[in-house]
Amino acid sequence: MSRASIAIVGAAETTRMGKVPELSQTGLHADAALNAMAECGLTPADIDGVATGGHDVAEIIQYLGITPTWYDGTSVGGCSFITLVRHAAAAIETGLCKTVLITHGESGRSNNRDHRPLFPSMQQREFESIYGPLFPPSRFTLPVMRKMKDDGLTEEQLAMVAVVQREWASHHPRATMRDPITVDDVLNSKMIAYPFRLMMCCLVSDGGGALILTSADRAKDFPTKPVYLRGMGGESAEGPMISQMESFSSSKAFRVSGKLAFESAGITHSDVDHLMVYDAFAHLPIYGLEDLGFVKPGEGGAFIAEGNTRPGGKLPMNTNGGGLSYMHSGMYGMYALQEGVRQMRGVSPAQVEDAKLSVVHGVGGMFSAAATVVMTSEDQW
């Protein structure tokens, strides 16, 4: 029997999401942080560890009036916040701090900010950008035609990812896009970067989220239902030049991160009740299912198209509607974590019955980095 050592005791999103022109990006961080502290009865004086990605962590510390003994500003794109859960757990385990606040805020739509969240990659710009793929939809999609030829993945299967996630989003009052869509709707939507149409690409939103982590021993002192980490999770990176991926059909960073998380948690795939796979574009849940080992290589597209991840399916995935339908500020990882926490607390508007174990997996940059955490509602296993 193992006992949980780390718990998530606070979890909240910004008061409003989607279009939030009244807040700066710093303000979005703070709104989410204040909401998370309020729900678990803490004030900035109770926080001694702070972490964020895509924004100067020291600014968040100063803005919120915190005096930390530990901080982490890992910025590898959208999975930074999943990575930071892992780093925070290690910091608490080793006594560097006791109570960690992880914040995310991003004014992706209103652009109330004076910097971009990702560092420019020098070699990516020198050897890729000069050929015109200047935006995520024309970079992140580059490997997919190869995968379609090698694995038999089809445009209809890619479209089904968006259709299934819209079904989940229809349950979520806070999801931006909730009306049902069909494969034809997706395939007939505006062409962005063939074979990718508009509805295969994520939303562009304003929003934020925050998590508060502490030791499992202290979790019972909080008014919230604790959600425990099972194992230490995983992380890896392959780098920002998507053309240099070892394989175009599989992400090395996904495989390494997923394996670490599963091994550390001591779980098998049949233990997983709920799954979040960061979906900036429709192909990512397919790569995620395959690279985390839920299906064999090349079977992810058919697995989704056959309905296995939709409401009532055997592996509920992206139950908030994902970046395609819920919201996508630019670095979506925090929202995948928030839905994982809601599912483990039993309070998601799209609640999976009796869900006790959730895997949250994210990508950073364009297949540049990856991180995975395993959450559970149980304090021992």
Partner: protein, 135 residues
């Protein structure tokens, strides 16, 4: 066409762009690993050795993957093809496919390609086109 993005060239990559100016696609390789690599750097990404050599690539490759980009880019008329080319030497690089319509019918994966060079001001940018003018 002169509005197209220009690379920022650093000391470690100067040889590559100098080569392109002379109509040569230059690749580095590691003699002990017996492997070419890309993009340029003054050491082998497999073993870390600084003892690397530069040679001219054959200029032959095949269409490994692509998108047809409908998003704006300075100097480009949309839609245009952004491809990943697998060179004969076993390394991948991004290029546009010139002399070939930006149309899935014309862009057949694994079709043979050959290097060509596109002038952008003083800089020559390696590009690819269907081998032997076939398309």
């Amino acid at each position: 066409m002169s509005d197209r993005p220009l690379p920022t060239i650093y000391a470690e990559t100067q040889f590559y762009w100098d080569g392109a100016k002379e109509g040569k696609l230059l690749l580095q390789s590691c003699p002990s690993c017996d492997k070419a690599y890309f993009p340029p750097r003054p050491f082998c990404p497999t073993c870390g050795s600084r003892d690397v050599t530069v040679q001219e690539a054959s200029g032959k490759g095949r269409l490994y993957s692509y998108i047809i980009n409908h998003l704006p880019a300075p100097g480009y008329e949309t839609p245009f093809t952004v491809a990943v080319v697998m060179l004969e030497e076993g390394v991948k690089m991004v290029a546009n496919i010139l002399d070939c319509p930006a149309d899935p019918e014309a862009l057949v994966l694994d079709m043979p390609l050959e290097v060509t060079f596109e002038q952008r001001g003083d800089i020559a940018v390696p590009q690819f086109k269907p081998a032997g003018g076939a398309a």
